[in-house]
């Protein structure tokens, strides 16, 4: 493809980027309330109860086995009262992300619920990974993991139209899928995803980790990016919502050493991940 055609393609992609529906302001406001140490969960409830679609998604998430409430709840105030701040934060982000992620992403060979399953699976695995590695900012890792493929929302149609070309590049030249995306479209879903999160004013560390998650030279540089890349590698390896690009990436030869991984530690994470996967069933339905 010549440079002018590539520029036109990029213009279209970035037009689509600015047209993406904004992350719900209600959720951003509720997350800011949670950041205030003097706030109460009742305040959060007051903010979100006026958004019926969000409330329905929050209740669905809260009643899933993953969050382990002792009983089914039907009011947002009760759900919030029974859950801790960390869980309320996770549920808010899950509920707000679903409309972007629970859709067919045909450009990447992902059926209706595949990207949602992949995103939730990666978020659940990231919690286990954070626990095993003693990573303090598990909330940043959780959000990064849940939204790491948000760029596919915008890239879907562009990749879909040029799918054969991208797959051919990836297959013949043994490129990674992101390298093939660059070759054909001039950008990739990780870069696009980080740009979306930057527009939505997510923390810089999350924007960076999402940008880095497929680039071994970049993700090896900081801990959040490494842990996100590792969580994603496991999500693909365990087969949680994997599209045609899933395995078409490289792993840094330094990753296991930097994360101080052992074979027995990896086996424990894998087993715990499958147990957690079962508890996500309600959220995936």
């Amino acid at each position: 493809m010549d440079a002018t055609a590539l520029d036109t393609e990029l213009d279209r992609i970035f037009d689509d980027l600015t047209a993406i529906p904004a992350f719900p302001k209600t959720v951003n406001y509720a997350l800011r309330i949670l950041d205030d140490p003097g706030s109460t969960t009742t305040q959060v409830g007051r903010v979100i109860r006026f958004d019926p679609a969000l409330t329905a998604n929050i209740l669905k998430a809260a009643n899933s086995a993953y969050f382990g409430l002792p009983r089914q709840v039907s009011s947002i105030e009760t759900a919030i009262a029974l859950l801790g701040t960390r869980q309320v934060r996770e549920i808010l982000i899950i509920a707000a992300s679903r409309p972007y992620l629970d859709r067919e992403i045909y450009g990447y060979g992902m059926r209706q619920h595949d990207l949602w399953a992949h995103s939730l699976g990666c978020a659940a695995i990231s919690e286990i990974v954070a626990r095993h590695s003693g990573f303090a900012s598990s909330d940043l890792l959780f959000t990064s993991a849940l939204l790491h493929d948000i760029g596919k929302y915008v890239m879907n149609e562009h990749v879909g139209i040029r799918a054969e070309e991208i797959q051919l590049q990836a297959g013949v030249d043994a490129m990674t899928f992101t390298e093939a995306e660059w070759r054909v479209l001039g950008t990739d879903h990780a870069v696009l995803g980080s740009e979306i999160l930057r527009l939505w004013e997510f923390p810089r560390a999350i924007v960076r980790a999402v940008r880095n998650h497929h680039d071994p030279d970049l993700y090896i540089q900081d801990e959040l990016s490494r842990l996100l890349a590792f969580s994603n590698i496991l999500t693909v390896s365990l087969g949680f919502g994997v599209g045609l690009d899933g395995f078409r990436h490289r792993i840094s030869p330094e990753l296991s050493r930097k994360l101080k991984l052992t074979a027995s530690g990896l086996a424990a994470i894998i087993q715990e991940s499958f147990a957690e996967w079962q508890s996500l069933a309600t959220l995936l339905a």
Binding site: S237, G239, G241, G243, G246, F247, S256
Partner: protein, 160 residues
């Protein structure tokens, strides 16, 4: 009507009901062992992502079988529903790999080699394989005729 039984990682299913199909929906880097006896119509599917069954298991979940104890338990269950050692056919599917995977992360290759070793040690030959490469495979074992259909996202399904 065909009854579909999904088989998840760390578990197995066996049956001799010809109206049954056993399905491994998304194998990733794991290994799926599909067994069928054309003489008796018995078949089974075992999927795992671990070489060894771990002692530490959660009380709230079903046991997760690694290859070491899972494969013998699976074969025993297969024989219990009518499968016979001298007429069975074994296929291995899965073991997806990233590009340039460092040794630590070669989960699929380790699983495939270990599964072969355990089977060969027990004088069970592997009739066919669809393993390795950057593919996330799914498979269906139809117990009506023992056919195994294997596919991956963006690829056409093939019968082994």
């Amino acid at each position: 009507m065909k009854t579909t039984i999904p088989v998840t990682s760390g578990s197995y299913a066996v049956s001799a009901d010809p109206s049954t199909a056993l399905v491994g929906a998304s194998i990733g880097a794991g290994i799926a062992v599909a067994v069928f006896d054309p003489e008796t119509g018995a078949g089974g599917l075992f999927i795992t992502h671990l070489l060894q069954t771990r002692k530490e298991t959660s009380a709230s979940t079903a046991p997760y079988f690694g290859l070491d104890t899972g494969l013998p338990a699976f074969m025993k269950a297969f024989i219990a529903v009518g499968g016979r050692r001298d007429s069975l056919r074994v296929h291995l599917v899965g073991a997806g790999e990233f590009l340039d995977t460092p040794p630590f992360f070669r989960m699929g290759e380790d699983l495939q080699k270990t599964a072969r070793r355990i089977l060969e040690k027990n004088r069970v030959p592997v009739a066919g394989e669809k393993v390795g490469g950057p593919e996330n495979r799914f498979l269906t074992l139809d117990l009506e005729n023992g056919s195994i259909r294997v596919g991956s996202p963006g690829q056409r399904e093939v019968t082994m």
